[in-house]
């Protein structure tokens, strides 16, 4: 079902009028109320009155994750805190998280956006929706919760209950719609078998999976394992949370809610727009947000826009599922980890040289993380077994403390990890079938 027939089926011409009006008013607001943007626009020397069409947006500077980190906690807010009714944050595994704020109107628009995705997946008031995203600073749980309630569905905030509990809830509460990360769904599918249950005994109909990249292969696997129609969606906390884009029944690309977000695709090296239909980095500008508006935010996610009209009737542009990252961000069980974080940890642990390799695998539906670390010859008595065990344990503890995941740490001989021609070790080996 198309939830908001008016905005989801505007002609391109009508949509662009809405976008330019909202863009101009957003620019006027951020220039008045956000010091970062006032300085950035002044520095770039582009007067806002020169932004006369959507193409002119490309003349404005980008906003990066680093800019947002520096603004911690509230410097990017465009309204006083008394106008903010909700605060959420990114996980921020290293350094400072990014804090985002929502006004009453922002929450309403966010609700509308996730409700659109759910409606596009044919979820309605007859459905029982189980949300297995954590209800926390993380936007996944609350974002979908609000949208599902708006549609009148019966919502189960299962949050971070264990896979076994989730399956019991699913069976006993007669859940028809599952909302979670695809890796968690894979885990549920495995645990289901371990419990001696079959998906036929469940009532699942639709799954909305997002928050991390996944593949068509995993889609087939989940559809067979859980007996549901698996739908992809896309979003990120900085932009609003889930609800930026999602698949319709055609499942040929994710419709971007363009009446709220303007999308651009750029070449991450030249920062110039890519040719239509080519792969590039997704860049979003929010045009309805009051609390935490962002201009040209570089997501680091790679995708492409699918040309042509969608048979579903929506005129909103479609993006392909995210195909990768501009950086080396790794997704493990819904957590986001940069190899540089592991490097920082190793540097802080005595005796470990920052030569390491991350090996990702999947066992029993669960992602596993192994960190292979080269020993440093500088370590006194580094060939003593006791010392080595102490170092190994210290690294493992530290990884769990900082990143929040249990890693298998193995120590390897100095200079044993293969180097690439550029002298750098291949940092990440991903053996998981996506």
């Amino acid at each position: 079902m198309i939830l908001n027939r008016f905005y989801e089926t505007l002609t391109r011409d009508e949509l662009e009028q809405v976008q330019i009006e909202r863009l101009q008013s957003t620019l006027n607001r951020v220039y008045r109320y956000v010091a970062f943007y006032r300085q950035a626009f002044d520095r770039s020397g582009i007067g806002l009155e020169k932004i006369k069409s959507l193409n002119d947006l490309a003349r404005l500077p980008f906003t990066t994750k680093d800019d947002l980190r520096k603004s911690y906690p509230y410097d990017m807010f465009a309204v006083p805190l008394r106008d903010i009714v909700r605060i959420q944050a990114t996980s921020g595994t290293t350094g400072k998280p990014i804090i985002v704020g929502y006004t009453k109107n922002d929450l309403r628009n966010w609700t509308e956006c996730t409700a659109r995705l759910l409606a596009a997946a044919e979820v309605d008031e007859h459905d029982v929706v189980q949300i297995a995203f954590s209800y926390s600073l993380f936007t996944g749980g609350f974002g979908f919760h609000q949208g599902a309630e708006k549609l009148g569905a019966s919502v189960i905030p299962a949050s971070n209950a264990s896979p076994e509990q989730q399956i019991l809830i699913m069976r006993d509460f007669k859940t028809t719609v599952l909302v979670c990360a695809p890796s968690f769904a894979a885990q549920l599918s495995t645990v289901l078998g371990a419990l001696g249950l079959h998906a036929e005994k469940l009532h699942l109909r639709v799954g909305l999976f997002g928050a991390e990249p996944w593949s068509e292969g995993l889609r087939t696997q989940l559809e067979e394992g859980l007996h549901l129609k698996a739908m992809d969606n896309y979003g990120l906390t900085e932009i609003i949370g889930p609800g930026v884009a999602g698949e319709c029944g055609e499942r040929r690309g994710l419709h971007i809610n363009e009446d709220h977000f303007i999308v651009e695709l750029i070449n991450p090296d030249t920062l110039q727009p890519v040719a239509p239909g080519e792969t590039g980095e997704l860049v979003f500008t929010t045009i309805t947000k009051e609390g935490f508006p962002l201009i040209r935010y570089r997501t680091g996610d790679l995708s492409r826009l699918i040309p042509g009209e969608c048979p579903c009737g929506r005129t909103l542009a479609r993006m392909e599922r995210v195909s990768g990252r501009t950086d080396d961000l790794i997704f493990i069980e819904g957590l986001k980890v940069f190899p540089s974080q592991i490097e920082d940890i190793l540097l802080s642990c005595e005796g470990a040289a920052p030569q390491f390799r991350i090996v990702l695998d999947r066992e029993g539906g669960l992602d596993t993380l192994e960190v292979q670390v080269e020993l440093s010859e500088r370590l006194p008595a580094f060939d003593e077994l006791k010392t080595l065990e102490r170092v190994r344990a210290a690294i493992a503890r530290r990884i769990e403390a900082v990143i929040g995941i249990q890693a298998k740490v193995s120590l390897v001989e100095p200079r044993s990890l293969g180097r690439q021609t550029n002298g750098k070790a291949r940092r990440v080996v991903d053996n998981r079938q996506r």
Binding site: Q17, V18, I20, E21, R22, Q24, S25, N28, R29, R32, L48, E49, I51, K52, V79, P80, L81, R82, D83, T103, K104, N105, R108, T288, E290
Partner: protein, 244 residues
């Protein structure tokens, strides 16, 4: 129906409107909120051709009307109900109304104009009673009704209204807004400039907020009503001053 892109306008060297874009779709009531001096009246004047803009584009039903003569714009179906009514005080109510149909009378549409006159009298029975009275002797509310009636005599598709509630008693304001809301059912689209946010948000579908010649907010009537700046500035919802 109406589309304004990047409008720049002012008086002499004074730039009042800076890069203003907005649109009004057929059948909508759109409200333009803003404090005194924000540029609301300037915008309406530019749209209906009284003021020649410095730059930008204005489209009425797809045709460019920037810089067109105001009589051509009225002919296309876009008419202004000016701030402060601007009636012809020494003339009768009936004469004022017929002047609103001046172009149509010149084109020999007498029969249709008589029908319009009946419609206006149907909408405002008071005007029918007082059709031979001088406009200047009417009360404020009656004058506003006459100003609206005069605009309707041109058989418009879009009516631009500049603060129709100004200087009127609350009960009269209510009556005027009922009339404005009722125009929709007659197939008339309305762009309403107002300071009375409460009453106008109740009848509008969408709106814009202007500050110092720029649009700073666009949204549904509900979104505007829930925006804290709008609440503070136009709805009289004040907050205890918080140290920030």
């Amino acid at each position: 129906m109406l589309r304004v892109n990047n409008l720049e306008a002012g008086y002499g060297k004074l730039r009042v409107l800076k890069n203003v874009s907005l649109h009004v779709s057929a059948g909508e009531i759109v409200i333009l909120l803003g404090a005194n001096g924000a540029g609301k009246t300037t915008l309406l004047k530019a749209v209906c051709g009284i003021l020649r803009p410095h730059g930008g584009e204005i489209f009425f039903e797809g045709a460019g009307v920037l810089g067109a003569g105001m009589e051509r714009i009225v002919e296309r179906g876009c008419v202004l109900v000016p701030e402060g009514r601007q009636l012809f005080n020494p003339m009768t109510v009936r004469e004022n109304l017929l002047l609103g149909a001046y172009l149509r009378l010149r084109r020999g549409q007498g029969a249709q104009v008589r029908q319009s006159l009946e419609d206006v009298f149907g909408l405002f029975p008071l005007l029918a009673e007082r059709q031979n009275q001088l406009a200047g002797t009417l009360s404020g509310g009656e004058q506003q009704m006459l100003a609206i009636g005069r605009a309707l005599m041109s058989a418009p598709k879009l009516v631009l209204m500049d603060e129709p509630s100004m200087g009127l008693a609350p009960l009269v304001v209510e009556r005027i807004f009922e009339t404005v809301a009722g125009l929709r059912s007659r197939g008339i689209t309305v762009l309403l400039v107002e300071q009375n946010a409460r009453a106008s948000l109740a009848i509008a579908r969408r709106g814009y907020v202007m500050e110092t010649g720029q649009i700073v907010l666009e949204g549904s009537a509900q979104e505007l009503a829930d925006n804290h700046d709008v609440r503070r500035a136009y709805l009289g919802k004040d907050y205890r001053k918080i140290e920030e």
